[in-house]
């Protein structure tokens, strides 16, 4: 636990949380619409994974704002995307669930549960063929491990020894369906253990996530094939803004809130005397300013021009070929 790592992890997790709290507020005001899936409570997973997996290609699910931030995407352009503005990362055409930035090797934001896995496998194949060893990181939720796309993907990745990390964030609920109601067990690493090294970790501890992904990264970079990580985590909010979360007990919520990854990291660092209290106070202040600027940027950005409706359907050179 190095001071520099604590500082980076804290900053990114807190930035992610404050970003999402602001997004929730803007949603309530009507500035953001559609589906908004918050990551609050799961920041250790988003930040730990992206900090460790810093080079290869990333394929994500739709709960990806904090992953994108941790990958290096500017909160301003993410917020603008949520507002549906021209300055958004996908020009306002993708929205909350579809954040993409090839310059960051981030092909995230897949809103079809499990749909990202086959693409991640294909990309891992391409990288291996090209002789790249950085590999691919594919993240999905617990619900995705019950779909055919998941099983097809771990099967092939293992058969072909592809450089890919499958990362499942198990927050126990696929919307409102507890994983154990529809799966024979809740410990999902069991599903992959016949195919590849498969571990279950504490996803509420950013260092554990970081260290485990570092280990997995080394494994795949050495050409040994895929690696599976299940991280136990919890979302403090509902599945999306339309979910009041009534399927979960207060007691259960309390247990997990006591495991808040941000507060715990801060308290531990203070207790061990690794980082001074001033750092946290100053960082919080800095983040408040950044988030306010992101909201302001999104609010003041223009809407896309109506002509944008028909662009980006096909590549330019292929449009209107019929003469």
């Amino acid at each position: 636990m190095k001071a520099s790592e604590v500082k980076t992890f804290y900053y990114l997790m807190k930035l992610g949380r404050r970003f999402e709290e602001a997004a929730k507020e803007e949603y309530m005001k009507g500035n953001i619409a559609g589906f908004l899936h918050l990551d609050i409570g799961q920041e250790a997973v988003s930040v730990g994974t992206m900090q460790a997996f810093d080079k290869g290609d990333v394929f994500t699910h739709y709960r990806e704002h904090v992953l994108a931030i941790a990958r290096g995407m500017d909160p301003k352009v993410i917020m603008a995307e949520l507002f549906g503005k021209k300055t958004g990362i996908s020009k306002g055409k993708g929205g909350s669930m579809h954040l993409f930035e090839p310059n960051l090797s981030f092909y995230g934001g897949d809103a079809i549960v499990g749909g990202q896995f086959p693409m991640a496998v294909g990309c891992a194949y391409a990288r291996k063929l090209e002789g790249e060893n950085a590999g691919v990181f594919a993240i999905g939720g617990d619900g995705a491990t019950n779909g055919g796309a998941f099983f097809e993907s771990i099967n092939l990745a293992a058969a072909w020894k592809l450089p890919i990390i499958f990362f499942i964030e198990n927050n126990y609920y696929a919307i409102g369906t507890r994983i154990g109601w529809v799966s024979p067990f809740e410990e999902l690493y069991n599903k992959a253990k016949n195919y590849m090294p498969s571990v279950r970790i504490n996803g509420m501890d950013v260092f554990e996530v970081y260290n485990e992904v570092m280990k997995a990264k080394e494994y795949i970079e050495n050409g040994l094939g895929p690696y599976f990580i299940e991280a136990e985590t919890y979302r403090f909010e509902g599945h999306s803004m339309s979910d009041n979360g009534k399927y979960r007990s207060e007691e259960e919520m309390e247990i997990f809130k006591r495991r808040d990854p941000i507060e715990n990291l801060k308290n531990k660092a203070l207790k061990l005397g690794i980082v001074e209290k001033e750092f946290f106070d100053e960082t919080d202040k800095k983040i408040e300013k950044e988030i306010a600027e992101a909201v302001e940027f999104a609010a003041n950005s223009p809407e896309p021009e109506i002509e944008e409706l028909h662009t980006d359907v096909y590549c330019k050179e292929c449009e209107n070929v019929v003469s």
């Binding site: 086959p118 980006d312 096909y314 070929v321």
Partner: protein
């Protein structure tokens, strides 16, 4: 040149020219391709570029999309159009939309080849035509190869196109020896005027091209000079060529193998209504497959799709009924 040889040649030349071109699908490698389209490629380009996959279509297409993101130019083969339904999520939710959803940031140079159409007694789950479903999806191009010349040029174009292309091949045509010619300035979206005529326009595509050509001989004997148009591309449809022909002939018949309800003919007819309704002297005649799953029995199977005889009979009846 055999139809399947034209396809093989297109892939071979593309793989030769560009190392990033790969082909993947069930049995495409060691087996040589279920329809021998990829025959010989594995010995030339190796198993890393000619990739045998599990029979898991969602993955075949999903993997191909990932390969395209990763910098390759994949050609995914779906053995039978019916099986493409297992891959529809990846085709429609992913391949066709990634460019748009990413605001133009993601480019997918991806070709998905499918064998389709009513072949010979393969029964309902191996005999489908899903071109209408695929053609209704923005972000995809849908090409339909009825002959060796088009198959070769269009497949090569598709492989080097930076957009996802659905490439339909008819199972009955694979072993057919056809005329082949090199075409300069090839445009995959241009319809072909197979035969010029002045009395009526027959719009068709895919294997029905040949049934229409057969039927036309009988129509000629009855004194009807029909113009035959083979569409080639189903998304987009070359409505200009159709409209120009209707302006001349004033009458239009659409022949398709697909089921009539919601089939490609419905879309073509609607586009004709929008573009050249006042040029028509008679209602459009649609000759299509029956609205039934394709039966196994040969007699019933032939009854479920248009044949040269049926095309002639229906056109003559339609002419008589409309006094044209």
């Amino acid at each position: 040149m055999l139809y399947r040889e034209a396809l093989n040649r297109a892939i071979d030349e593309a793989m030769e020219k560009d190392e990033s071109v790969v082909i993947l699908g069930e049995d495409v490698g060691r087996y040589g391709g279920s329809y021998r389209v990829s025959e010989g490629l594995i010995s030339k380009y190796g198993e890393k570029r000619v990739i045998d996959t599990p029979i898991a279509e969602l993955s075949i297409v999903g993997n191909a999309i990932g390969m395209a993101i990763g910098g390759l130019r994949p050609i995914a083969e779906i053995m039978t159009e019916n099986f493409s339904l297992l891959a529809f999520d990846q085709i429609i939710n992913h391949a066709s939309k990634l460019r748009y959803m990413s605001g133009g940031k993601i480019t997918l140079p991806l070709t998905i080849r499918m064998a389709g159409g009513v072949s010979r007694q393969l029964a309902a789950q191996h005999s489908e035509n899903y071109e209408t479903m695929l053609s209704s999806v923005p972000g995809l191009y849908v090409l339909c190869a009825s002959n060796a010349t088009y198959a070769y040029h269009a497949l090569k174009w598709a492989i080097f196109s930076n957009d996802p292309v659905i490439f339909l091949e008819h199972e009955l045509l694979y072993p057919v020896d056809m005329e082949f010619r090199e075409v300069k300035d090839f445009n995959p979206f241009k319809a072909e005027i197979v035969k010029e005529g002045k009395d009526l326009t027959i719009v068709t595509y895919f294997k029905m091209r040949y049934d229409v050509i057969e039927a036309e001989k009988e129509l000629a004997k009855a004194g009807i000079d029909a113009e035959i148009i083979d569409l080639n591309s189903l998304r987009p449809i070359d409505i200009e060529t159709i409209a120009k022909s209707i302006k001349k002939t004033k009458k239009c018949v659409i022949v398709e193998e697909d089921h009539k309800t919601g089939g490609m003919g419905a879309e073509i007819a609607a586009q004709i209504m929008e573009n050249c309704f006042y040029d028509l002297d008679a209602p459009i005649l649609r000759i299509a497959g029956e609205d039934v799953p394709i039966p196994y029995n040969r007699k019933l199977e032939l009854a479920s799709i248009p044949t040269p005889d049926k095309i002639v009979t229906k056109i003559l009846k339609w002419k008589a009924e409309n006094g044209i």
